[in-house]
Subunit: 279 residues, 2 copies
């Protein structure tokens, strides 16, 4: 099958690698607003050809929309106007807005809203990696609004990528990802700024930074072009979680100020409960 | 050389493994307040014998104090009373308090204050791992207060563990670790509590939790018996950093509330500066 990847970066490029390797994509067409990214994707062998949007969609059986989510929201209605029997899937980190963008299209049934739960702090075609999605979860949202054959094709794609599929509605998805992904990025950005703002001796950080620091701060390398639209689109859920997180941090602050170390131990024991969820 | 490890847990046990493997420790003696830990360390082969404190110190050339830091603070003056020419080193996460505890001893010169910058979220003898410290940094504090031969022995130990040594005074150390280690643990504990408090659907977290979530939350599994004393001893520095961190989080909150996405992008770009420090 010929597959178009719109936005040949970390996610689109990583998908391209596996779909080619497994023989599912007989031809991969790259479309990218940034000509340098498109050429880089070609040079790296992520795609076989680079085309403009309309020609790519016409020629493809499957179109994977893998741009930042604000661009995806703008592009999807236009792509659906070009579609006959092709299937269009997105891979964005929020699902309510993109489903609303699709809902007015007479071709809504050809679209499948998805979110593979994998990423790194890097972006662009150079960030693409092989076997990226294996054994991770992916979400398909509002399945009932998509044609059965379109869902079946997307399920096949995620099967080839080695992912297990979770089905939920778009609104629930957006609440859950605020907890399991978006807040982690905000705390990481804020932690990086805390250290960069106050710890003037960068050499000392560089020397001493251990695994714990690295793991809590690595997400702070993530790209604003990707993350600002996510926070915009999921603002209400992210604000709810952020307010709760600040309240939780204030409890730690209060324990230290009042030297209430019994309550501090309780807070830590409670946090240890995360072991139930993360093995 | 016969070496005593007081507190045969994650750090003491991991050191024992390498010092034995490299042939530096001809005999390893374990001392632990928890008899189950001591027996477990023996069963796991971390130590060759288990003894009570006085006998162990008498027999050893090097004593490694690897208990939680509140116990180390209490034990060190007593251990120094038992010492003739033995060298005593600690491995705790704060350095000012332990150096103060040593400062009144006529045997202060036999003590070397150190902090190897490695750990995991696990604890106890079962958590010990081989080659744990390799290529990480370790700190030696207030070197001028230790006898030259004691420092030389400790430098040899860290060389065998494959660590590079950074020298600084205890007060500077405690400021730096508040930034590069202690605040990461507080944000991780608070993040775990945020999710456990508000996200009632633990199944959804379990299904969806991706690498980003796992890396920012894994430290929340850390043991209160280790961390409460660290926050106690480094309270003032940790509070400074925590206050700054809450202020940084409030900036993100304000951007979202006011829909000021330009400033949000600026905050993220600034956070990206952590790339200068973490490769």
């Amino acid at each position: 099958m010929t597959i178009s990847i719109i936005g040949v970066g970390l996610i689109g490029g990583s998908m391209a690698l596996t779909l080619k390797e497994k023989g599912f994509a007989t031809k991969l067409i790259g479309v990218d607003a940034n000509p340098e990214h498109a050429q880089k994707a070609l040079a790296l062998g992520l795609v076989d050809e680079v085309k403009e949007l309309h020609a790519a969609v016409q020629e493809s059986g499957l179109v994977i929309l893998a741009t930042p989510i604000n661009a995806a929201e703008a592009l999807l209605p236009m792509v659906l106007q070009m579609v006959d029997q092709q299937v269009v899937m997105d891979v964005g980190s929020t699902k309510k807005t993109i489903c609303e963008a699709a809902s007015q299209s007479p071709k809504r049934g050809r679209f499948v809203a998805t979110h593979p739960m994998w990423g790194t702090e890097y972006s662009g075609p150079e960030a693409a990696v092989k076997n990226a999605f294996e054994k991770k979860a992916t979400v398909i949202c509002n399945k009932e609004d998509s044609d059965a054959d379109a869902v079946a094709l997307v399920e096949q794609v995620y099967g080839l990528l080695g992912m297990h599929i979770v089905y939920m509605n778009a609104e629930d998805h957006d609440v859950h990802v605020a907890y399991v992904s978006h807040i982690s990025h905000i705390t990481s950005f804020a932690l990086a700024n805390t250290v960069l703002e106050k710890e003037r001796e960068e050499d000392a950080i560089f020397e001493l930074a251990s695994g714990g620091f690295e793991s809590t701060v690595r997400l702070a390398k993530s790209n604003p072009a990707m993350w600002v639209p996510i926070f915009m689109q999921n603002k209400d859920n992210v604000l709810d979680v952020l307010n709760e997180h600040i309240a939780q941090l204030r409890k730690f602050k209060s324990c230290l100020e009042k030297e209430n170390y019994e309550y501090l131990a309780e807070l830590i024991e409670k946090a240890n409960g995360i072991r139930r969820i993360l093995k």
